[in-house]
Amino acid sequence: MKPLRLHEDIVITREDGWLAGRVGDDLVMMHAKSNQFANLSATGSRIWELLEVPRTLKDLCEALSCEYDITAEEAMADVTKFLRTAESHNLFHFEQ
């Protein structure tokens, strides 16, 4: 599998079929068909919520930098790290 090439204009979309429920600060998720489970922490679950509609990476980082009062560069570093982890769980798909 090719490594994911992330850039500002890449469009991120949630994969279908995930069920999600909040337990404390965590968002517990289950994919009904594949029987896969995942757990998102507070920031990860906020990213999941923001991606209720597909967004570009740039849009997503701007939204998070406003909410968490961090620079766009810091947001980009955090989101990129999160997306690379999430990729192996098939939470999102990406359109270059």
């Binding site: 069920l19 337990v23 965590d26 489970f37 995942a38 757990n39």
Partner: protein
């Protein structure tokens, strides 16, 4: 024409009128003019009309679920309210009753949107604590031991969870009889409470619980996943995180294959998440023998105190 013999039970909070004896279930003397569930003998076709999904021994058309079990019979569950059974020629009615009470009821209750865990439960100061695990994990033995300690039995082997007001989920208890291996009955000195054999195939007995409680809405405080203790170690508990908890709740569905067959994953997940709002899941490492029973009681009672459950002074000592 003579009237058929009928039995009335109270199973998971529901009044059941049955034309077959359901071994181990609690009989109900509150009348059955309007039962919630009817179990009756009737011819059942081997195929369903307009089946939408099929498996090796089952098919469903949404409203109805058919099980066709070789050398046992055909079973049709309809809209969460009726079980029809059609035994094969040589099948044993005791085995049919056990199958109806286990697998058929699971289908029926899942048709009603409930979650069914493979667990036994006892009451600790009016809160339910559940012990789950696969067959042979020691659920019934744990419940029997705690019964000797003074904690009433709520559920044996099957725990049905239903929604309450306020988004919480509660346990519907029915205090059916424990099913214990003959060695366990002897070890715990429960011979006087032992009744009939569960089945001719196994040396397991139905055992009248020492104490039991029936409650429609028992709030659930803790769920313990039973795990074997390595030799030389003391009993211990491990608090599972939300992800591990959700995985264990799904894994401990009473009949996981029926969750798949009936495509009720979403119901299970939703109820599991609701349950985790007010109940925690733990892994309980416990010995299979009875050598560390006092240490096990001490561990559990300390834990229940920490959860805010006042332990009764009337508990008895195991010896």
């Amino acid at each position: 024409m003579t009237d058929l013999q009928k039995w009335t039970y109270r199973i998971s909070g529901l009044v059941v009128s049955s034309e077959i004896l359901l071994p181990g279930a609690s009989q109900w003397d509150g009348g059955s003019s309007h039962p919630d569930i009817i179990v009756r003998r009737a011819p059942v076709e081997p195929k369903l009309f307009q089946a939408v999904r099929k498996g090796p021994a089952w098919e469903t058309n949404g409203e109805q679920f058919l099980l066709n079990i070789e050398s046992l019979g055909k079973f049709l569950m309809r809209s969460g309210g009726e079980i029809l059974f059609d035994p094969d020629g040589n099948s044993d009615l005791g085995d049919i009753g056990l199958f109806v009470l286990g697998t058929c009821f699971t289908v029926l209750l899942q048709q009603r949107g409930y979650l069914i865990l493979h667990a036994s439960a006892v009451s600790v100061n009016s809160h339910a604590v559940l012990f789950c695990g696969p067959s042979g994990a020691g659920k019934s033995t744990m419940a029997a031991l705690l019964g000797m300690r003074g904690y009433p039995l709520l559920n044996e082997d099957v725990c049905m969870l239903s929604p309450m007001d306020g988004g919480k989920y509660s346990l519907r208890s029915d205090s059916r009889m424990l099913k214990l291996w003959s060695e366990t009955v002897a070890e715990l000195d429960l011979n006087q409470n032992a009744r009939t054999l569960v089945s001719e195939k196994h040396q397991k007995f139905f055992v009248e619980p020492l104490r039991s409680e029936i409650a429609d809405k028992q709030s659930i405080k803790a769920i313990y996943v039973l795990s074997d203790l390595e030799k030389g170690n003391k009993p211990s508990l491990e608090h599972l995180n939300p992800l591990e908890s959700a995985v264990e709740l799904k894994r401990n569905a009473y009949r996981p294959t029926l969750v798949e067959a009936m495509e009720v994953h979403e119901d299970y997940f939703r109820i599991s998440i609701g349950l985790l709002q007010h109940a925690s899941v733990y892994r309980l490492y416990r010995p299979k023998d009875f050598g560390q029973t006092e240490a096990l009681f001490a561990l559990m009672e300390e834990h229940w105190k920490n959860l805010g459950l006042q332990i009764s002074d009337r508990i008895e000592t195991f010896s």
